[in-house]
Symmetry: C2
Subunit: 209 residues, 2 copies
DNA sequence: GCTTGACAAAAGTGCTATAATTGTAAATTA
DNA sequence: TAATTTACAATTATAGCACTTTTGTCAAGC
């Protein structure tokens, strides 16, 4: 009697969720391509929908408003960088200082090369996305800090919760600061910041009986 | 024979320098009063000069351009806060952690109450002064960091030059970050940041043979 | 050394009309 | 059911235009 194994699921997620994510990704990707040409203020929601091959109403239904879409976009682009940062940290779990240095360097290098980041920083006036990482950056900050916190918690399970939160928050704040007003070459900036954080970090990452 | 002591100088500075400083102060003070009413974008150089009782050309001769004037203004206002920070630090030279906590708390509390800071942060569009502490804040950052560095060098003569510079730079970056996007109440934010910096600080402030 | 008066170039203002965009709601299609 | 189409009011952008203000720099005068 031959046992037929169940067909391997293409994804663990039910169709509805997968379809929704696909939709969101398609829309956000379309926005990114449009942003290669002109600033956010000059891109309409209709264009984004058209570029994604979707109706405008689907876009609104999914994201609510233009501002929410922009917010989500910035966070999703940020996720690209944060992924890289977390990978860098995971490779240095035995050495917190090296982890911070590598994570920050990866971030600053990637951001410096990214044309989207350059565009975002260049655009001065209203209607752009710049405020989302300066004066109205609470959502981005909270999101990035929370995600980074999770990664640190996973890598250093002995660390105290408050230390994790403080370190993640500070890491993100400094990272934003360095991106908007560079200090040095990415590697030097990262090394300096890591040197600064490491004494605290090393205390925190060790279990305190 | 009676020795007549030399008349006490009103100031150690020669007249030319003193007059120049008086002129600058008068103009900058006039600008501050005008800023109580309306945002910077709606204040002309002619108004500033008139309010200071000086001709427009004198203003231009002294500051060069509108942007330079704004830059100088922001730095001079920043000096008010930095004075307070330095005093707070000087009162805790024996305890670097308390020094950082007190300095940051003084700054954040004062900034939170200051109507000028509120106006500066509120004003979104172009022509305002906000970019001077976000995307174009290099001058402010360099100035504040250098001044804070001097104060630290004076208070902790054993510290290494690189440590001073790194700490001052980081302090200023975090302070700006906290002002533009608050984390907590000033006292809590200051305590957290001080806790984070203190392990490094304490190593640095002690002479390393 | 400061002020006055003058100036061109640039930037802002008020106004109009027109067009585009946002956000929402319905009816429609697959 | 989920997305599309169509429709719509309200807000906002765009363009043209004349006009005013402002910036930045002169030279002349006190």
């Amino acid at each position: 009697m031959v046992v037929v194994p169940p067909a391997k699921q293409a994804s663990a997620k039910p169709y509805r969720v997968a379809a929704r994510e696909l939709l969101r990704d398609t829309l956000l990707d379309a926005a990114r391509e449009l942003l290669a040409d002109r600033p956010w203020a000059q891109i309409s929601m209709a264009e984004v929908a058209r570029a994604a091959g979707v109706s405008r109403q689907t876009l609104y239904k999914e994201f609510g408003s233009r501002d929410e879409f922009a917010q989500t976009f910035v966070i999703r682009e940020g996720a690209r960088f944060l992924d890289a940062v977390e990978r860098a940290i995971e490779q240095h779990l035995d050495d917190p200082r090296a982890a911070v240095a590598a994570g920050l360097e990866v971030f600053l290098s990637a951001a410096a090369e990214d044309p989207l980041v350059a565009l975002l920083l260049a655009d001065d006036g209203t209607g752009g996305m710049l405020p989302l990482i300066t004066t109205q950056s609470r959502p981005v900050l909270l999101w990035a800090s929370a995600r980074l916190g999770e990664a640190m918690r996973a890598g250093w399970p002995h660390a105290q919760e408050e230390d994790i939160e403080l370190l993640a928050d500070t890491f993100v704040r400094l990272a934003i600061s360095y991106v908007t007003m560079p200090r040095d070459a990415p590697s030097q900036t990262a090394a300096a910041a890591a040197a600064l954080l490491s004494p605290y970090l090393e205390r925190a990452m060790v279990s305190r009986v």
